[in-house]
Symmetry: C2
Subunit: 184 residues, 2 copies
Amino acid sequence: MPRGDAPAELILEVALRLFARNGVAGTSLQQIADALGVTKAAVYHHFRTKSALVAAVLAPAFDEVARATAAARTVPDLAQRRRLLVHDLAANAVGNRAVYAVMLRDVAVGAVLAEDSARAATAAFDELHALLIGPDGTPATVVRVGMFLSGLAAHTADATLATMADDDLRAGIVEVGEALLGPW
Amino acid sequence: MPRGDAPAELILEVALRLFARNGVAGTSLQQIADALGVTKAAVYHHFRTKSALVAAVLAPAFDEVARATAAARTVPDLAQRRRLLVHDLAANAVGNRAVYAVMLRDVAVGAVLAEDSARAATAAFDELHALLIGPDGTPATVVRVGMFLSGLAAHTADATLATMADDDLRAGIVEVGEALLGPW
DNA sequence: GTCTATATAGAGATAGAC
DNA sequence: GTCTATCTCTATATAGAC
């Protein structure tokens, strides 16, 4: 998936839209090709397998997670670190709702991640998880972190959130983050 | 799906386990039949379509939601109503993790619900949503409710929560509910 | 880089014997 | 109530022409 390849970029956009709406397993390459007005073979010219296409669709989100994790890693104070992560994650999740919906909610993504060209992605996510929890591994804290992360994709299953303006949704997520992981 | 039909009950259990692990779209009737040690035709004798099987798997959870909604409907005070719903939902979600995971996280369920033998189920869920929000429809409140509900299935995407003891997880969910929707 | 055509496998679903 | 066998359709994926 070369940089700046317009056809490939277009495939990724269309595929993401369909993955978010119907799930990865519920979206065939035929549907993607139809939505693009090309044939399946044209799609296969850009991505060797469906799995590679899924990985390419998710890659930007994984990169964002990796960047947020790297930034948070350098903040020793737990409260400040959580504040940074909550703000980053809220902005990222709202800024690209569809990819976060697929990444956080679609069970089929697990299979792609296990395929282990994506081990870096899972490692970054695990580290982010640990950075949010901090040294206190009590069940109460673990549940707070888990429910906050899960809630980053709440807009997918909630019609009211789905149509909410970006600013309101982002502010709401930050507020929830502070209620659960603050004060900071 | 007759009551007390042992084979049908067994099919539902096995199907739920596979749906929760691999998603509805990622689970074929062949896989379900193999896990049961029977053929596809035997499964089709109990459920006319895959969609009917999915609906039957989810029915107990929809009934629980309907009961919790009916109970909450009679509580006029918002704080007390939220307290009741948070406790009910936490107990239900932890008591049957797999079915809540499928119901809240699987995009393929949306298609089954749209099929509209299940309109009662969506109506109950919509009312529950409204009962949790109350008269205050500000974005902040809507996001709190949406993220809490989404978080009821957090155990699916979080290995630490997946292995957490029922009591700890339920208490954690209640605590998150109070932090987001309390005090009561 | 996109096409037609096809290989192969598996999906959902049904018929009819036992 | 379960089986074998089969239908039809669609899935992923590939070969090779243009």
